[in-house]
Symmetry: C2
Subunit: 132 residues, 2 copies
Amino acid sequence: MNIGEASSASGVSAKMIRYYEQIGLIAPKGRTESNYRLYGPEEVHVLRFIKRARSLGFSLEETETLLKLWQDKSRTSAAVKEVATTHINDLERRIAEMQSMVKTLKHLSHCCGGDHRPDCPILDDLAGENVA
Amino acid sequence: MNIGEASSASGVSAKMIRYYEQIGLIAPKGRTESNYRLYGPEEVHVLRFIKRARSLGFSLEETETLLKLWQDKSRTSAAVKEVATTHINDLERRIAEMQSMVKTLKHLSHCCGGDHRPDCPILDDLAGENVA
DNA sequence: TGTAAGGCTTCCCATGATGGGAAGGTCAAG
DNA sequence: CTTGACCTTCCCATCATGGGAAGCCTTACA
């Protein structure tokens, strides 16, 4: 199967498949005489794996680690769990940061008239004027 | 004041001050004979404004909008509030996405032994095997 | 059989916000 | 007068993705 078919079978764009190949994540099974990349069901499976990992927020580097663990039959589930746990902690840290932003912004918005007048506690806060 | 002083007075790195200048966010008050950038308290105030906006998660583009509104004495607070509201919605959407990832990952982690054995529901999920 | 359409190749560029670092000019203190 | 700390511009890297050009290949149809 060509790259276009592998793309629609996996949901990963052809552009990305080539990029993943470039960074060593996945190689085509071979090439045709005319240099077209060739993929089999194995490769599509790997592409789906990558896509699922990305959709759970894993970086490509983490995804590579997970992929290697997947292919390593002598892995321990502890090793996998550690990658996941680290990622969960990272996500939770970022969520907390954003929630803090939202909290501040909602407070400022609540205090802002939102009318035709120029007075605005949001701008006052950004300008460092301790009004709100 | 030179860029170094403006940097420590505002908390924005010299590198970033130059970048913000490049994209048209802030210009130095002038230059010395030897081409050094010169800043006054006004400019430091603007830099602090930018920094605060960034810390609330606004993009540089949104920050530019807010900066223009700040400097426009005939702005309406409604215009400012709209920028903030859009940003809040964006943050909340991203928070929800990440929370969904965390939820899934926590479930998978919970089901994962985390021991010396290779069996791992996390990998099974990534591989598309509907085990967990 | 010729041609047109669409798929494939590689290569370069852009994003957003930030940092690293080199090469070279400037300033202030000793 | 030298040294070190500052400043200048310029280029490169990050992370994951997309856009697009130039050129080759394949397939389908007239």
